[in-house]
């Protein structure tokens, strides 16, 4: 139904209705994407709102409703990157001692590893965070990520390589830098 009214939804009287429909359909996934990138649910709420506001303001630049997801992901990740870059550096509290204790008590290597990933992820740069979330949460290919970010595929590969190396380093996992 949506595809049939592509042109009308982009240019005609139905554009507000089309926007509302697409926004509703993508709101949950967009909020989760923003929250993962930003690591802060309140910040993610504002970022998601701002991204939809930008999308509506530039609605005329969307040429195909079927491309909405890719088009909007690009807007959202750009808003998130902007927020991360403006955010003041947070104080990183060293909780490695607590983690070791917890590890002994929990005896679950998986829990420790996930905690370590969370801490390492929070230290990644904005670009690296975005690349990791798009690759390993949305399961986008390198080329798809490059298209959404407007950067060359090689840049995406490089960002993923360095991000995973940092994350792997936190887990003391050796890295050979291939097969990302």
């Amino acid at each position: 139904m949506l595809r049939e009214r592509t042109l009308e939804g982009l240019q005609g009287d139905k554009r507000a209705e089309t926007f509302e429909l697409l926004a509703e359909q993508s709101l949950d996934s967009s909020y989760r994407l923003a929250a993962l990138i930003l690591g802060d649910p309140v910040d993610a709420q504002d970022a998601t709102h701002d991204a939809f506001l930008l999308a509506w303001q530039s609605w005329s630049s969307l040429r195909d409703v079927e491309r909405f997801d890719a088009w909007f992901t690009r807007i959202l990740t750009n808003v998130c990157r902007d927020r991360l870059r403006r955010r003041k550096r947070r104080v990183v509290v060293d909780i490695s001692g607590a983690l070791e204790t917890r590890a002994r008590e929990d005896a679950s290597a998986g829990v420790v590893a996930r905690d370590a990933i969370g801490r390492a992820f929070a230290r990644l740069s904005a670009d690296h965070r975005v690349a990791v979330v798009l690759r390993y949460y949305l399961d986008l290919s390198v080329d798809q990520i490059a298209e959404r970010l407007g950067v060359p595929s090689g840049t995406v590969k490089s960002r993923l390589h360095h991000a995973l190396r940092e994350l792997g380093g936190e887990l003391a996992v050796s890295s050979d830098g291939r097969d990302i």
Partner: protein
Amino acid sequence: MSTATRELVRAWLREEASHLRTPLGLRESVAAIPRPAAGVLTVAPPMRRIAVIVFASALLLGLLGSAAYVGGHPGPRLPGVSILAYIDSGTLYFVDSDGTDARWIQSGIQSNTNPRQLAWSSSGAYLVVTRDHGTDNALVVVDSEGMSIGTIVVRHWPQYSWSTVGDEIAVVEQGSVLEGTSAQVRVYTPEGTLVRRLRVPQEVVVITALDWSPDGRQIVIAGCIACDDTLDSERALTRNLWLLDAYGGRPVVLADLAAAYPLWPVAYVPSGDTITVGTLSPCALLESEGGCSDVWSVPINGGEPQLVLGNVVGARWSPQGSDVLITRVVDGSLVLFVAPSDHLDLMHRLADNLSPVFELPGWSPDGSRILYSEDDANSPSMWSIKPDGSDKVRLAENAAAAAWQPVPR
């Protein structure tokens, strides 16, 4: 990279995502976005953010069960607010033209290397800036959200002009006397796709400025025959104005100003029947009373060029053509004047102590405001002001160049 790390990252992201629930307030505020008429802007007021924090805190404290979201919806923003793009220390920023919501766009922008450092397309949908690209230059096109959408690589001294009737950009590839090549003008889409090449007289080696006519049919170029590509020759070279057909037809010579130094800038006056062009004289900025440029008016029907302003730094006609901004050196500092275009002798002093590093002052798209930079204790500040000198608004600090988006978002 080990598979184990990738799988751990993937599992961690999915587990984190599984705990996330879209806040009710976000659903309501997003649903409210398209209700204002298109083109009328909205902004998230502090109340919404405060309400979000209260809501989130209350949830954490267990104070809210199924309580309704009480935050306000985005309120109206002033209509007519558009984006000012500006460069500060090689970084591109956007700020709303009322001076609010400054935002970082991208770094690595060239500044003080090109007479025209950034420019919006006539639709206001795209902005072009110049970056280094190895030993070459790249014109990077960003959209109004600041996202890069296209790159056009240019060997050296990039010159460009947006079409006045569509989102096409004419870009100069300079020629070289040493290599025996002529200058070229190519037309691209904002995404960087070559659309067509324009016919340029073979004898033109360097194009120092160009401007697209108001009707979109022609492009005026200020060119130089047998110039070397460093542009610093003091030889008496032939410098002409030509009119190129924007769709590939035959070019015609418009005028020969026989200037020893580059013709720059060149611009159509809004009526489209006249071109203004500056001729530079060899003098140091701020040391020559008035300025080192003369501004000539050249009718496109082939009439004789007329000197309209002598000894100025620069002049810029308002979008309606009724007024002219004139920058002059007075007692060793830059002073901004405004004058009616039919009485350029009736100059009204508008601002003193302009920043010499700032691109020439400019007009807002509707001609209601003027953009300029003042040197304030060695820290240039960008201001907007009405042509009568009232309603002065500080917009940003340390801006080296700026461009006002033509239409409201």
